[in-house]
């Protein structure tokens, strides 16, 4: 290197000068480059223009700027460019969402708190309109929620309550996974991947047309993922294998009627690190393997009809079957769901836009009880029904809009629930959006919280050992949230957009545990003390925080995205000395600070280079240290139909934990992982 240059480069002043010169040169070049690009484009013929691939830009975000909620969209481009191999990985790109990976196949995902554990239970999650949170513990088995990643159109995430539309359980947020219409997945796709943590993954899809107005796709997927490691660095036994097959059929029946039919079958061998289970004989604990087996199937059909220019309706019916067995605990269950949903929107006069709908869900479960975990009764069926109405009122056309709405829901055991919200949107001009909202949302107690018995721990004692167990109670009320939000979005320039949201959530009747006196009991011929911890509405408190996001396209070929989240929670027993505070999974499980920076770069010769850096603060209750981590992807498209990519994840360390010790599952350490991916379109 030239001596003078490096001498200048090494002094502080020199660095500043270099940076300044650099910035000037770059801005000049980028301006020049931009005009060159635009000029070249106008020289192209229509035929050429039709063939050009475009990057999807802020179009959708502009629509989002009209939304009076903290909404964020992960596009197919985002998913693709980060090389996400599962839906939870794609959700890491959402600012304000806490995504902690517990082991190979399990995640705890929540917005605005209550996230760190497996039982993250305050989100509504839908895939193509099908609700996928389990009534068993109100959380999501993320290991079952999968599809061909390339066929996801977008993932919409709303932080904050969405209960007025989506109903109970849409307390802290809604995740809406939307797959592409069959007409947009025509032709073949073969995607294959392998790496040091992946023994192999193959996805195959073929889309075709049957007549002018009918499109279909069929697909299959298989993967075999290697185990992560335990704290000692040994393989933890959480290997994960999955087989999946499905189809989607879309028909434009008439100019106004669109029909969709889609379905999927799934089979998974889900490993897990072994954990300790209670036993009534010395040493009062036994080790049980974490292996589970899952099977599921679903079919969804939807009819959308346009009634007029300002009115349409949609009718959707689905059936979902899922079963899961844990051989080491002799445990298993099946859950069947039938759901019917109807929606109708129409304008009334110049100022009102109404949306109303009704829904009914029938759930049925069959639980194979074991010593460790059981449901009483072991079979139950639930009827849930709801209606909702929402009015969007243009107080000042294009400037101020008020949205009022509520869901009215009825569930067995719980009764009627009322979940209203009011949202105000102000767009002083095209570049700025301010919004504010007040909303109420409820989380209904899960079947586990109502009916379960779960033997958590056995303790030696004289003359009798004690068995501590969780006990469901049908007296438990829904958890209540009253949420206050403020948001601001601005399009500073065509290259820079900023988004900020503030929230203050007031919770009441959060479900924790109450302690009841022990009683003497005989189980399997052993006399012991039976000591229940009963699910009760023992907690209350507040969470509050700030979520910031910036999207900056520095050059046409370089985009930077950054997000920062600050989150505080202050939860306490509702009456002193009633809540068994230390046991609840709901306190101290969230990072106070979270930060990410993503760089998305287009290089010459069809090369893409993407980097995601994340920093997640410590989770004190789960004893998880703060960690920085780095993912990268380098992709090359030698031909239009072929893409080769290399993905590296968790590059900063050999392994780290994202979640900590909790009941039911044993977390494993996420390892550094490299993946080679081939994608062929035919």
């Amino acid at each position: 290197m030239n001596g003078t240059l490096s001498a200048i480069g090494d002094s502080v002043l020199g660095k500043a000068i270099t940076a300044l010169v650099c910035a000037l040169v770059l801005s000049a070049l980028s301006a020049a480059g931009k005009h060159v690009a635009a000029a070249n484009l106008t020289d192209m013929s229509l035929e050429q223009l039709l063939q050009i691939e475009v990057t999807s830009v802020s179009k959708r975000k502009e629509r989002i700027s009209d939304s009076p909620a903290a909404i964020f969209v992960v596009t197919q481009d985002d998913i693709h460019r980060m090389g996400a191999t599962s839906i939870p990985e794609a959700l890491r790109l959402v600012p304000g969402l806490q995504v902690s990976r517990i082991d190979r196949s399990k995640w705890g995902i929540n917005a605005r708190g209550f996230s760190g554990g497996f039982q993250a239970n305050k989100m509504q999650v839908l895939i193509d309109g099908r609700s996928v949170y389990t009534p068993l513990f109100s959380g999501v088995w993320w290991d079952e929620q999968d599809t061909i990643m390339e066929d996801i159109e977008r993932i919409e995430v709303i932080r904050g309550p969405g209960a007025s539309l989506w109903g109970a359980n849409a307390v802290n947020g809604v995740i809406n996974i939307i797959t592409k219409q069959a007409g947009n997945t025509q032709g073949g796709l073969l995607s294959a991947a392998a790496g040091n943590e992946d023994n192999g993954a193959v996805a195959l899809r073929y889309g075709g047309a049957a007549g002018k107005n009918t499109h279909y796709r069929v697909y299959g997927k298989y993967f075999d993922r290697d185990a992560f490691v335990d704290a000692q660095g040994k393989a933890a036994g959480d290997n994960w294998r999955e087989k999946k097959a499905g189809f989607r059929l879309d028909q434009q029946w008439t100019a106004d009627d669109a029909l969709t039919l889609q379905g999927e079958v799934h089979e998974g061998d889900v490993g897990g690190a072994s954990s300790a289970a209670a036993t009534l004989k010395p040493p009062f604990a036994r080790t049980v393997a974490g292996q589970q087996r899952t099977e599921s199937a679903n079919v969804v059909t939807r009819w959308k009809r346009r009634l007029s220019e300002t009115s349409d309706f949609a009718l959707q019916v689905y059936y979902d079957h899922s079963q899961r067995t844990t051989p080491s605990l002799s445990l298993g269950w099946t859950i069947d769901t039938v759901d019917v949903d109807f929606q109708h929107s129409f304008a009334l006069g110049e100022r009102h836009k109404f949306l109303w709908g009704a829904g009914y869900r029938y759930l049925q479960d069959d639980f194979q009880n074991s010593f460790d975990i059981s449901l009483h009764p072991s079979q139950r069926s639930d009827h849930w029904s709801n209606i909702f109405i929402q009015d969007e009122i243009n107080l000042i056309p294009d400037r101020v809009r008020l949205t009022l709405g509520s869901k009215f829901e009825h569930r067995d055991i719980i009764g009627f629930m009322f979940q209203p919200n009011a949202r105000l949107l102000w767009t002083p001009d095209d570049r700025h959006t301010l919004w504010a909202s007040v909303a109420r949302a409820l989380r209904t107690p899960s079947w586990g919280e109502q009916d379960s018995r779960f033997n958590v721990q056995a303790q030696p004692g004289s003359p009798f050992p004690a068995l501590i167990f969780w006990q469901g109670s049908r007296q438990t009320d829904p958890e209540e949230l009253l949420a206050y939000e403020l948001g601001y979005r601005t399009q500073v320039s065509s290259a820079l957009a900023l988004d900020a949201a503030l929230f203050y959530n007031v919770y009441d009747k959060l479900i924790g545990f109450g302690q009841l006196p022990c009683s003497l009991r005989v189980t399997r011929g052993v006399e012991h003390l039976d000591c229940p911890l009963v699910f009760q509405n023992t907690l209350e408190g507040e969470t509050y925080g700030i979520e910031l996001f910036a999207d900056w396209r520095l050059f046409p070929a370089w985009r930077l995205l950054g997000g920062y989240t600050w989150l505080k929670s202050d939860l306490r027993p509702r009456q002193p000395n009633t809540g068994v505070a230390g046991i609840t999974s709901q306190v101290g499980t969230d990072p106070e600070h979270q930060f990410f920076l993503r760089s998305s770069l287009d290089l010459p010769h069809n090369v893409q280079f993407d980097v995601l850096f994340r920093y997640v603060d410590a989770l004190p209750f789960l004893r998880v240290n703060a960690y920085p981590t780095l993912d990268m992807r380098l992709a090359w498209k030698p031909w239009k139909s072929l893409e080769l990519s290399l993905v590296g994840r968790n590059l900063t360390d050999d392994h780290h934990f994202e979640s900590g010790k909790q009941t039911i599952v044993t977390p494993t350490a996420i390892e550094r992982d490299f993946l080679a991916v081939v994608r062929w379109y035919f």
Partner: protein, 170 residues
């Protein structure tokens, strides 16, 4: 080191990435539309006005068209116009109005020689003349011929053969 990084970035911003931004391409389409549409005031020498109604998604791409010549006429771009001013445009790109406002604009312009273009959903179906759609990351367009005829615009067969033709769905 620092200079090295600076140079790498400079090369990067110069080399044209294979993917274009959506609105750069759409601007190029607008320019092409101007070539393949005949307005009733054909033969006059006044400027050909390309207007934008609603917020600006184009950035610099629209300005880059300013001053170009099409069919012997100077292309003039105008932003920040209101609905009344839109009646004097040759090409009107409509961005992101709510559907009701969109319908009002279209109703107002339906018998005027204004080539309405938008990427709003179902734009050509609801009475717009050219609607952009994105299929597999590529920009395609739909033409509503009936609406073009009402507006007394003649669309060249070169444009028509590449378009998806749609009928107004009422």
């Amino acid at each position: 080191m620092a200079f090295g990084a600076c140079l790498a970035l400079a090369t990067l911003s110069l080399t044209r990435a294979q993917q274009f931004s959506e609105y750069d391409v759409k601007a190029a389409f607008l320019f092409n539309f101007a070539k393949f549409v005949e307005w009733p005031d054909q033969g006059t020498t006044g400027p050909l006005k390309l207007c934008l109604l609603g917020s600006d998604p184009f950035g610099d791409a629209l300005s880059a068209l300013e001053g170009k010549r099409v069919q012997g006429r100077l292309l003039q771009t105008r932003r920040d116009i209101d609905e009344d001013a839109a009646t004097s445009c040759h090409i009107l790109f409509v961005n992101e109005l709510d559907k009701r406002r969109l319908l009002n604009v279209l109703r107002k312009l339906q018998h005027l020689p204004v080539l309405t273009v938008s990427d709003s959903k179902d734009f050509a179906e609801i009475g717009g003349i050219i609607g952009f759609i994105t299929v597999d990351n590529r920009i395609q367009f739909e033409i509503n011929l009936e609406a073009a005829q009402k507006a007394r615009l003649r669309i060249s067969s070169q444009l028509l053969k590449l378009a998806r033709l749609v009928k107004a769905g009422k």
